[in-house]
């Protein structure tokens, strides 16, 4: 179990940097068409910001917002968004993930519907990656506690 750190410097910097990290993650997510990035990278940066909060403020403080169950729910929602958009394209008469068919639902022309479809899929991927990364972090940092070994007093 990661206890609350008594380190004022790290806490202050985490509080200061967190909005910029989330903003940068959203930039990487949205701007994935023109620069390196996309759903996976945006999700990883979001999870890194979450790990920063976990390290500086302790696991118990962080789990008021994100518990194991919430992380599992978010990963399921991400996969559902990805598959839902694909199946929606399938229902509208195209192939799986054929975004051009979404233009009828969204009310825009085909090129913009493709762009919006890719953005929706990437948001789903980002949610799933962030939740799975948080789950992995929780599992790694609570497994030391349960074994009762040397790191038990950490």
């Amino acid at each position: 179990m990661i206890r609350d750190s008594d380190d004022v410097i790290v806490k202050t910097l985490a509080r200061l940097l967190m909005p910029f990290i989330v903003g940068f993650a959203l930039y990487v997510l949205m701007h994935g068409h023109h620069s390196p990035g996309g759903g996976f990278q945006g999700g990883v940066i979001l999870a890194a910001g979450f790990v920063l909060l976990c390290v500086s403020f302790g696991l118990q403080w962080t789990q008021r917002w994100m518990t194991r169950k919430t992380a599992e729910l978010f990963s399921s929602i991400g996969v559902f968004i990805y598959g839902g958009i694909g199946v929606l394209c399938l229902i509208l008469g195209g192939n799986y993930l054929d975004y051009g068919r979404l233009s009828r639902v969204l009310g825009v022309d085909v090129a913009e519907a493709r762009s919006l479809g890719i953005l929706g899929v990437e948001i789903g991927v980002a949610l799933a990656v962030m939740a799975v990364m948080c789950t992995l972090f929780f599992m790694i940092f609570t497994a030391v506690d349960e074994s009762g070994g040397q790191g038990g007093e950490q």
């Binding site: 990290i21 990487v28 620069s35 940066i45 890194a48 790990v51 390290v55 500086s56």
Partner: protein, 90 residues
Amino acid sequence: MTTFFLFIGIAMCVLVLLCLYRATMGPNVLNRTAGISAIGTKTLIILLIMGIVYDRIDMFVDISMVYALLNFIGCLVLAKYLERSREVSC
């Protein structure tokens, strides 16, 4: 001008190799952490220089920003993990 940046990048790579000595042969795990942090800082500059040499700096600047962020968070997590551990020999 590109040639100058190329030579700066090569010099930086030599410095990374020197830091790699501390990161592999360091007496304990804290020394290794310090060496890895120094390597990450130099890699940030090497990425930007690669962007200048390939003339695609608008792409590489995002990568180096992510690299700086992950290097910082990795150092903090390692420091938190090693705090009060008895495995570090004095």
